[in-house]
C-alpha cells in the first residue's frame, strides 16, 4: 500500500507554534460507513479559530473549530468527539454522506 498524498499539516502546526499561537490537532481516528476523509486525516486550529486541513468534507469542521477553542480556553489536554449522520434540518452539524467519524483533539504543549 502506498500513499500518494502527504499532508504537510504538522509542519504547519509547528510554524503556528513558532508564531506563538496555541494549536490544537484534530485527527480522524475512526470512521464507520462512508466518510469523506480517511483515518489519520487532520486539521489544526488556533485560539482565534483559524484552521487548516480537514477532517471531513466541510460537514463538521465548524463544530470541531468550536470544540478546539473550548479546549484551549479550558486548558484541557485532549478530547474525543463523535459525529453521526445528520438529519436533514439545515445547518445542523452532522455528516450528510451517511457516515460516522470519531475525531480526537489534542493540544500541542
Amino acid at each position: 500500500m502506498k500513499n500518494s498524498f502527504d499532508e504537510k499539516i504538522l509542519e504547519e502546526a509547528n510554524d503556528w507554534v513558532n508564531a506563538n499561537q496555541k494549536v490544537v490537532l484534530a485527527t480522524v481516528i475512526q470512521t464507520w460507513g462512508s466518510s469523506p476523509r480517511q483515518v489519520g486525516s487532520r486539521m489544526i486550529v488556533n485560539e482565534k479559530g483559524d484552521f487548516s486541513g480537514s477532517v471531513s468534507g466541510g460537514c463538521v469542521e465548524s463544530a470541531v473549530v468550536r470544540e478546539c477553542i473550548g479546549l484551549i480556553k479550558d486548558n484541557k489536554p485532549c478530547k474525543k468527539l463523535e459525529f453521526k449522520v445528520s438529519n436533514e434540518s439545515a445547518w445542523e452539524v452532522g455528516l450528510a454522506c451517511g457516515g460516522e467519524i470519531a475525531v480526537y483533539l489534542e493540544q500541542v504543549n
Binding site: M1, L10, E11, N14, V17, T27, Y104
Partner: protein, 226 residues
C-alpha cells in the same frame, strides 16, 4: 502532543525514515515508534498490534483499547528523464503529493538551476545516473525526452528493476518503434506492455501543464492499484 514530539516527527519525515505515532487517547500522551526501537513500558503490551499496523501501513485504534496508531509512509520515488517543459509542471504538481522527483538529463542546457530551482537534477546519462539512485519495485519512471539515446537505457533499467509505473512520452508511432527496439533488446511482450505509452490518461489537452496533469493522474491511479 508534546511540541518536542511534533518536532521530531517533522525531522523524521525530512530524513525519510519510516515510523508511526502511538497515542494514548485516554491521556493524550504520544510517542514515536520505529522498527528497531523499544516502546515505553505502558505501550509494550500492544507491541504485536502496533507492529501489525506498521507492517500493513495502516492507521487506526487498536481493538478494545484507547491506543491510536498512525503510520507514516515514505514518499514515492519518481524518476523523470528529460528536464523538459512538462517536467517543470510535474515538479509543481508533485509538491502537494507524496512524490519525490529526481530528474535525469545529460543535456546541461535543459537541466539548469534557473529552470528547476531547488531541484535535484542529475546531469548524466541514465546508465550513470542510476548508479546514484537506489531504485526498486516501488519506484516510478516518467520518460519524457522521446529520444531513444536517452529514454531507452532508462526504460530498460526500469523494466529490469520492475518499477511499479513506467510511462514514456511520444506518439503512437514513436511508441511502436520504441517497443520494437525493446523487443530486439530481449524484453518480453508482457514487460513491454507494462509501459504506459503514449503516457498519461486521455484528458484531451496538449499544453505542457495539461500533459503533466494527465501523467500525474495516471501515476496516482497506478499507485493505488498496487
Amino acid at each position: 502532543m508534546k511540541l518536542q514530539t511534533l518536532k521530531s516527527i517533522i525531522e523524521k519525515k525530512k530524513n525519510k525514515s519510516e515510523f508511526a505515532i502511538i497515542t494514548n487517547l485516554s491521556n493524550g500522551e504520544s510517542e514515536i515508534f520505529e522498527k528497531d526501537k523499544s516502546l515505553s513500558k505502558e505501550m509494550q503490551i500492544y507491541s504485536n498490534q502496533i507492529n501489525e499496523f506498521f507492517k500493513l501501513k495502516k492507521n487506526g485504534v487498536i481493538e478494545n483499547s484507547e491506543i491510536f496508531v498512525e503510520t507514516y509512509v515514505l514518499p514515492i520515488k519518481v524518476i523523470v528523464v528529460g528536464a523538459v517543459h512538462i517536467a517543470q509542471y510535474l515538479v509543481d504538481f508533485s509538491k502537494s503529493l507524496n512524490f519525490e522527483i529526481s530528474i535525469i538529463d545529460p543535456r546541461g542546457y535543459f537541466a539548469s538551476e534557473q529552470r528547476f530551482p531547488d531541484m535535484k537534477i542529475i546531469n548524466k546519462w541514465p546508465d550513470e545516473a542510476f548508479k546514484e539512485i537506489e531504485t526498486n519495485e516501488n519506484t516510478a519512471l516518467i520518460a519524457l525526452t522521446h529520444d531513444p539515446k536517452i529514454d531507452d537505457p532508462a526504460l530498460q533499467h526500469a523494466l529490469k528493476k520492475k518499477f511499479y509505473y513506467i510511462g514514456a512520452l511520444g506518439s503512437k508511432k514513436t511508441h511502436e518503434n520504441r517497443c520494437q527496439r525493446l523487443k530486439e533488446a530481449g524484453f518480453s511482450g508482457e514487460q513491454i506492455n507494462s509501459i504506459h505509452g503514449p503516457i498519461g490518461i486521455k484528458l484531451g489537452g496538449r499544453s505542457a501543464p495539461e500533459i503533466a496533469l494527465s501523467i500525474i493522474a495516471q501515476l496516482v491511479s497506478e499507485t493505488y492499484k498496487k
